[in-house]
């Protein structure tokens, strides 16, 4: 997962977390390499603040009172913002992770991530790529395991062999670059596979996905 830290380019970041202490911690860690344009501790403040500050990337806590991360994504999207969302959580229950991705987040990392990794993840989301942590890859492999139940839409409900292979490498702790080397493909192709998986994750009606997401009433 330790991606080589790319040169910090001053991506504008907005931090949403209902824990004041955590917010200020992230602010101080990122402030040297990103441009923090605001933070918020409630859903309403977050929606208003993001619309006003128009950041490129929003770091979003999954669990918050009054609707959580999902309410923020919906509110901001309704206002027409183009901000990308990177979900942060202390929880790695499958339903949380799958749920926030289905709500529209472009990646998921746990709060115990190191500062370098966090900056790299922000950069990646900013570049339009997807942040697939090993754990997220594991959940997706679990959710898409077995083809026995009738896929309604094979395009969305099944992973291709190549996508599955890519996810396996990520779950094993390979960086995108290492996956590319192992599979003899370019990093860009790895990113394409991962983006395709994210799309399936968001649009598929596979039973496991809808069940997980509805467990937390996120979809």
């Amino acid at each position: 997962m330790t991606a080589p830290t790319r040169a910090a380019t001053g991506v504008s970041v907005f931090v949403v977390d209902d824990h004041e202490l955590f917010r200020s911690g992230v602010r101080s860690e990122l402030s040297r390499r990103c441009r923090i344009v605001g933070d918020a501790g409630t859903v309403d403040e977050a929606v208003a603040g993001i619309v006003r500050a128009d950041p490129e990337v929003v770091l979003l806590d999954v669990h918050m009172p009054a609707g959580g991360g999902r309410a923020v994504i919906e509110g901001v999207r309704a206002a027409g913002s183009k901000a990308q969302f990177l979900a942060l959580s202390v929880s790695d229950a499958a339903e949380d992770v799958i749920g926030i991705i289905r709500a529209g987040a472009r990646g998921y990392v746990t709060k115990s991530i190191s500062a370098d990794e966090l900056v790299a993840a922000v950069q990646r989301v900013h570049d339009g790529d997807v942040v697939f942590s090993p754990r997220l890859a594991g959940f997706v492999l679990d959710a898409f395991a077995g083809d026995s139940d009738e896929p309604i839409d094979p395009e969305l409900d099944l992973l291709t062999a190549r996508e599955r292979e890519t996810l396996r490498y990520i779950a094993r702790g390979y960086t995108y670059k290492e996956v590319a080397a192992e599979l003899h493909i370019s990093v860009k192709t790895v990113e394409t596979h991962v983006s395709a998986v994210l799309r399936k994750l968001q649009l598929s009606n596979r039973y496991e996905l809808t069940r997980w997401a509805s467990d937390r009433r996120l979809v």
Partner: protein
């Protein structure tokens, strides 16, 4: 010591050989009046219901049973409170025909003695009650294999018990009712219809009563289960907002490695508990075993172990060996690679379980390994091969190390 043990075994005879006999204590959980009967039942290894019936029968003998009961109440201590919380392992003796006959003869002898010496309530009451009590015991003393049934009729309907037992028990109670009615002619004269109704109700109560009672207990049990589940959900929400957040914060100070490792261990345990993977129920499944292994290495080596398991499997002897091999590889990576992060990935497929342990550390040239590292590699490879699997170590200097293990599964 060995001599004593021998004596004990010899004295134990064919009964509960080997198993320690529980102390005579009044039961908290299983009681009708003061838990005396259940206590004696547990102590002797017989069904409490049999003891209760014996007390009822002996009480007829001029209150003899009552006296014994009160004495036992005074003499036997109440069992400790915590013992009541967990259902005790029930040691039951399946009596042989001879033992049952012996017990019946002793009971008959005591009754006869009391009859002869005149401590007796009289024929009209004693015989019907004795008959009813035996019928009651036959009906309700459930044997081991039927204990899973919700109520005795279940067992009868699903054919797990001879319905002849139901028949004999019910017939005995019916006979008791008839004898009672016939014997009490004077009462019958007074108001025969009313008495017949009362006797019928009493008989039915004897047949159905214990079932209704156990149903009631089950309902109470279910309700308290529900309350517990709700309390747990509430606590999960609370802990999530407090402890997990704090632990995440602690981990952000990279200087104090000790603190970080403690926090991660705590976090892992808490998480397992919150999401229903408590270590107490664990051990049986592969996922739990891998998680536990990762936690152990994290704690001992102050490294971060990201363990991801896709699918799950029962933890048989081979899977256990795989977990040990994965643990060895993880420990090795945490100790020697120079990297503080280890990725563990285990995937359960239909035909095999694959496991990968990867680090981004120094790596090494497998052709020139130090002897201690070869030893560890051998213990991983050797262990996997003994269980029909394979293991290989891929590494090159500067490129990190990955240990790949594969264990074929027998088709389920």
């Amino acid at each position: 010591m060995p001599a004593m043990a021998q004596v004990g075994v010899r004295r134990g005879g064919g009964g509960v050989a080997g198993a320690a006999r529980p102390r005579l204590e009044r039961s908290r959980s299983d009681r009708v009046i003061a838990g005396v009967a259940a206590g004696i039942g547990h102590h002797l290894g017989i069904e409490p219901i049999v003891v209760r019936v014996a007390f009822v029968v002996l009480t007829l003998a001029a209150g003899f049973g009552l006296v014994v009961y009160l004495l036992a109440w005074l003499l036997a201590p109440l069992e400790p409170a915590d013992a009541a919380a967990k259902p005790r392992p029930r040691i039951l003796i399946r009596p042989t025909l001879g033992q049952a006959l012996g017990a019946a003869l002793i009971l008959a002898g005591v009754l006869l003695l009391l009859f002869v010496t005149g401590f007796w309530f009289g024929e009209e009451l004693a015989w019907p009650v004795t008959l009813a009590a035996i019928g009651f015991a036959i009906l309700w003393a459930r044997s081991g294999e039927e204990r899973g049934a919700r109520w005795p009729l279940d067992a009868v309907l699903t054919g797990r018990v001879f319905s002849s037992r139901m028949l004999v028990g019910s017939l005995l109670i019916l006979a008791a009712m008839v004898v009672f009615l016939l014997a009490n002619t004077s009462l019958r004269a007074a108001g025969s219809t009313l008495l017949a109704v009362f006797v019928a109700i009493g008989g039915l109560a004897l047949i159905i009563g214990p079932w209704a009672w156990s149903m009631g207990r089950e309902l109470i049990e279910e309700r308290s289960q529900l309350v517990r589940t709700e309390a747990r959900a509430e606590m999960a929400a609370h802990l999530h907002d407090s402890v997990l957040q704090t632990l995440a914060l602690i981990q952000r100070s990279p200087e104090q490695r000790e603190m970080v490792s403690l926090a991660r261990t705590q976090e892992r345990e808490l998480r397992a508990w919150l999401y229903g993977r408590a270590p107490t129920l664990a051990g049986a499944r592969l996922r739990d075993a891998i998680d536990a292994m990762a936690g152990r290495v994290e704690h001992e080596q102050h490294a971060k172990v990201e363990a991801i398991v896709v699918g799950d499997a029962d933890l048989d002897e081979h899977a256990r060996a795989l977990v040990s091999a994965v643990g060895e590889a993880t420990l090795n990576a945490a100790r020697h690679s120079g990297s503080t992060e280890v990725s563990v990935y285990v995937e359960v497929e239909d035909d095999a379980i694959s496991a990968y342990v990867r680090d981004h550390g120094n790596g090494f040239d497998p052709a020139q390994v130090a002897s201690d590292r070869r030893g560890i590699a051998d213990s991983i490879v050797g262990r996997m091969e003994r269980h029909g699997g394979t293991a290989e170590v891929n590494s090159r200097p500067g490129g990190g190390t990955e240990v790949v293990m594969r264990l074929p599964r027998k088709p389920a």
